[in-house]
């Protein structure tokens, strides 16, 4: 049965059963594979996307329940100036190792900076506490977010 979902500013028509999550629909049908399946239980954060502007778990969102919501994935933020600053900072600081957590981290960081343009270190860490990274130890990730925030100041 088809569902009409607003994804990255466009209406996309997808097939969904009752138990299909937004994550499965994004990845398997729309081939928007930036959001990853790390645990499918909402813990690891690799599936984090924006729903109505707030970071949420695509793996815990039933596709059927997402009609009417505005969904934004990392793919949809490629022309966003704030995301560009984050991507530049992550690139320069060495905050990306295996990269599997990176899309979810970037979405959470983007949301953090959208609501708090000048976060302290502890606020950055709290804002990212829903994204697990096993490679980096988080230090360079926090540094990159702080760098992106600094770049935004006039």
């Amino acid at each position: 049965m088809t569902l009409a979902l607003s994804i990255n500013g466009r209406i996309r028509h997808v097939q969904a059963g009752l138990s299909d999550t937004l994550l499965t629909v994004l990845r398997d049908q729309l081939l928007l594979t930036a959001a990853k399946r790390g645990c499918n239980q909402g813990v690891c954060g690799a599936c984090t996307v924006l729903i109505d502007g707030r970071p949420q778990r695509a793996c815990l969102s039933l596709a059927a329940n997402c009609e009417g919501a505005a969904i934004t994935t990392l793919e949809g933020l490629q022309r966003d100036a704030g995301m560009a600053r984050l991507q530049k900072a992550f690139t320069a600081t060495g905050a990306v190792q295996c990269g599997f957590c990176t899309p979810g981290v970037l979405v959470s960081a983007h949301a953090l900076l959208s609501h708090n343009a000048d976060p302290r270190t502890d606020e950055i860490r709290a804002g990212l506490s829903g994204n697990l990274c096993r490679c980096s130890g988080y230090r360079k990730i926090a540094e990159a977010v702080a760098e992106a925030a600094k770049e935004a100041k006039p």
Binding site: M1, T2, A4, Q41, C59, L60, S61, G127, S129
Partner: protein, 285 residues
């Protein structure tokens, strides 16, 4: 266009009727628990009744008596951010802000969370300390249950078949302190043990309600503990005795987070520490 089996009623009554009449139906709040279970094949509902489209379940409203009604669909992030939950009600804000992590707090709801009644979750002891009441709907109408009676057993609430939580009622905030101290393995984990405390202060003295989470099938409370702390809020021996009373009332198990014995050992220590912090908060005002 929609998905067979998916319902998005616009009223509580429609939702209650759908749940009662539809075979194998589950209600969907934030999805943090139900969808995780579905993903793990631990729940296979034949129908989903989403509560997302019901206006009266959303938001925190001030009541005529100065208290608050938190709609069941209120996200943890909203509860954690609401500055009106001050004084003795701050215990609920403090608990909400420590649930999981900011992303899950955008999704999880108070109704979904307490409906699941995980004894290691953060709301149950906080609601007991805040003297909250849970509002439940069924086919016949609404009823209210005191928080201390709402959590019945492991993952079991006072909700009967076809009933679900529509809101949480809080009494008016009183001047004082409200604290939630959580001990967990890592940030965002469920509690090994937690202490929720509200201390109201007026001319007559201090009135304390204290509850322990993560240490039994329901939030642990003891009349003796509340009485001791209320009578002698400044006294370390009273805090120690209150802690011992709560440890004695606890019924912890061994699980992957910690052993039962450790929980019994740490309860009085957490209680003493939380009481000390509450005293400091009261003295600072």
């Amino acid at each position: 266009m929609s998905v067979p089996g998916y319902h998005r009623p616009k009223s509580v009554e429609d939702a209650a009727r759908l749940l009662a009449e539809t075979d194998g139906a589950r209600c969907l709040s934030g999805g943090a628990t139900l969808v995780a279970m579905m993903n793990a094949s631990l729940a296979e509902p034949k129908a989903i009744v989403s509560l997302a489209g019901i206006p009266e379940l959303a938001g925190i409203a001030e009541l005529a008596n100065g208290g608050f009604r938190i709609g069941a669909m209120t996200r943890h992030a909203a509860t954690a951010a609401d500055a009106r939950l001050a004084g003795t009600l701050a215990v609920l804000r403090d608990a909400a802000r420590q649930i999981a992590n900011p992303v899950v707090r955008n999704m999880g709801t108070i109704g979904g969370s307490i409906g699941f009644a995980d004894p290691a979750a953060d709301y149950p002891p906080a609601l007991v300390a805040a003297n909250a009441e849970v509002e439940i709907v069924n086919a016949a109408g609404r009823r209210r249950v005191a928080a201390r009676d709402f959590f019945v057993d492991w993952y079991t609430t006072a909700c009967g078949p076809g009933e679900f939580v529509t809101g949480v009622h809080l009494p008016p905030p009183r001047p004082g302190a409200g604290l939630y101290r959580k001990l967990a393995r890592v940030s965002g984990d469920f509690a090994i043990a937690s202490v929720a405390l509200s201390a109201a202060r007026d001319a007559a003295g201090v009135s304390v309600r204290i509850a322990v989470g993560g240490c039994g099938p329901r939030p642990i409370r003891a009349d003796a503990a509340d009485a001791l702390l209320s009578a002698k809020f400044g006294d370390a021996a009273a805090a120690a005795a209150a802690g011992e009373a709560l440890a004695a009332a606890a019924d912890p198990v061994d699980d992957v987070r910690a052993s039962a014995e450790y929980r019994r050992l740490v309860i009085p220590r957490l209680v003493a520490e939380t009481v000390a912090h509450a005293r400091a908060a009261l003295e600072a005002r």
